[in-house]
């Protein structure tokens, strides 16, 4: 269960390779046999290398979360392929998928609804291990305590329940749970959006430390370009279900090409510039 060396993922092979991915939701019109097809996203191709962070930025409704759910194997894409460390996921049997799920973990925006309020902190972190059938009770508990310490939660709080934690602490709890199975890829779906500036800074710092220590890859889904620019290696901009621009963070800021990216960059302003404009 220890991090150990990453045998199957060399630094030069992408950990995740998504090509031509698309998801269509089909809904029945109420009280009629007619069906409506909605494309959540289309023709998305992305790669993430081990130890790197890719941010996907876009407006609510642009298809970001559907993309995250498909990559996290919570939903089957309609078209395209997902390769994780060289393995094509579509070809796998249910059992093989169950085993590979541990490699990809999700952290959601709102930890208070993502955590079971009836379980204690220790049980929440140990649950993924229990589901995957790892270790004995006492081994799982020891691992949970170790993870609490790693994410900056006092192990003495193992019997507390989610509602007894503050917002930032709950997000740490969600991170500890996501790390329990020692995944290679963490998907952060707006995982910082609910937090105040102080907690955002602290959680970012924690994520950077974890990334360095475990060679974790992050797929960070967010609507906040300014926030992701602080730590993402690359940024993909999603607009109306398609990736319209995908570049290194520095290049994106230096030479944005798509008009939507330009508008995003122009609207992200500092407190200083806002105050200056208000006093004018």
């Amino acid at each position: 269960m220890n991090p150990g060396p990453r045998s199957n993922s060399s630094q030069h092979e992408p950990l995740l390779r998504v090509s031509g991915l698309g998801k269509q939701y089909v809904q029945r019109r109420p009280f009629s046999p007619a069906k409506i097809a909605l494309d959540a996203f289309q023709d998305v191709s992305l790669t993430i290398f081990p130890g790197k962070t890719l941010a996907v930025v876009g407006e609510s409704g642009a298809g970001k979360s559907s993309l995250a759910r498909c990559i996290a194997l919570l939903e089957r894409p309609t078209t395209g392929t997902i390769e994780l460390a060289g393995t094509k996921l579509a070809a796998l049997s249910r059992k093989a998928l169950f085993l590979i799920r541990r490699e990809v973990q999700l952290i959601f925006q709102d930890p208070s609804s993502a955590l079971n309020p009836r379980l204690t902190a220790g049980e929440i972190i140990a649950e993924p291990l229990l589901i995957q059938g790892e270790g004995t009770n006492s081994q799982r508990r020891a691992r949970a305590l170790q993870l609490m310490e790693q994410v900056g939660l006092d192990p003495a709080w193992e019997r507390k329940r989610p509602l007894e934690f503050s917002g930032g602490q709950r997000q740490r709890l969600a991170i500890a749970r996501a790390l329990a199975l020692d995944p290679h890829l963490l998907i952060l779906d707006e995982a910082l959006s609910n937090l105040d500036a102080a907690n955002q800074t602290l959680i970012l710092k924690l994520l950077a430390e974890l990334q360095a220590a475990r060679s974790l890859s992050f797929l960070h889904i967010s609507h906040d370009l300014r926030l992701v620019s602080e730590f993402a290696d690359e940024v993909a901009v999603m607009y109306q279900g398609r990736i319209v621009e995908w570049k290194s963070t520095r290049n994106l800021f230096a030479s944005p090409e798509h008009s939507y990216t330009r508008e995003l960059l122009a609207s992200a302003r500092s407190v200083e510039s806002i105050l200056l404009e208000r006093s004018a």
Binding site: E59, S166, N194, A198, S267, V271
Partner: protein, 274 residues
Amino acid sequence: MEVLLQVENLDVSYRGAGPSRHHAVQHVSFEIAAGEVLGLMGESGCGKTSIALALLGLLSEEQADVSGSIQFRGEELLSKDRSSLRAIRGAGISLVFQEPELALSPVMKIRDQVAEVIHAHNDWKWERCRADAELALARVGFSDLERISSAYPHQLSGGQRQRVVLAQALACKPALLIADEPAASLDARSQGEILALLRKLQRELHISILLISHAPEVQASLADRLMVMANGRIVEQGPFEQLYRNPAHACTRAMLRTAAPASAAEDMDFEMVT
């Protein structure tokens, strides 16, 4: 300046299982002048939303104990009965939530959703409410009224949906708007638009706003004064720019990210954890 809302010694405590209680808000006092924007910042779980719910009279007696005093236009809200509170909600004090997807009904056309709010507060025929709803939608800056009015929420973008929610909240011309993270789910472009719109409407209609947001940029563009909360108490309040330039409390520094040194952020964590 005329005081619109005066809150004194507000306490909110929730009943837990057995004799335990959770004190969400403790000894909170503040006031909002007519036409003023008061910003409210604080970590999630510090009691911001409890204050908003208490102001709207939305905390049931079975759920929570509310004590202290909330005076709105000189009237004490805490001693009012349900029906007079219902008359104030929406017409005197209204609310905008963070998630427009959850605030709007997915099966009703936009015009009807706005008309419903007007219908609830006025003894008017439905046709008149619908006509008024179109005016309310025009006020929040929709140019293609025809399309928006007969659209369903899923046919609009996130920014457009938030404008619809704003049209609902302002339809009955309230004196106080409580905006709970009004721009948090929007991208920078739509966020800028909705904030500019809020500022414009606030001036035109001369309404007061209690702005709950953890984003320093959002507070900077709207708030006249700022109030910072931690663990259910107000730790600092004053003019926005003064708090931004000279924060007295470590919590304010961390919330506003005023080039806070890393060590200050760590102190902060320790304080909030305990």
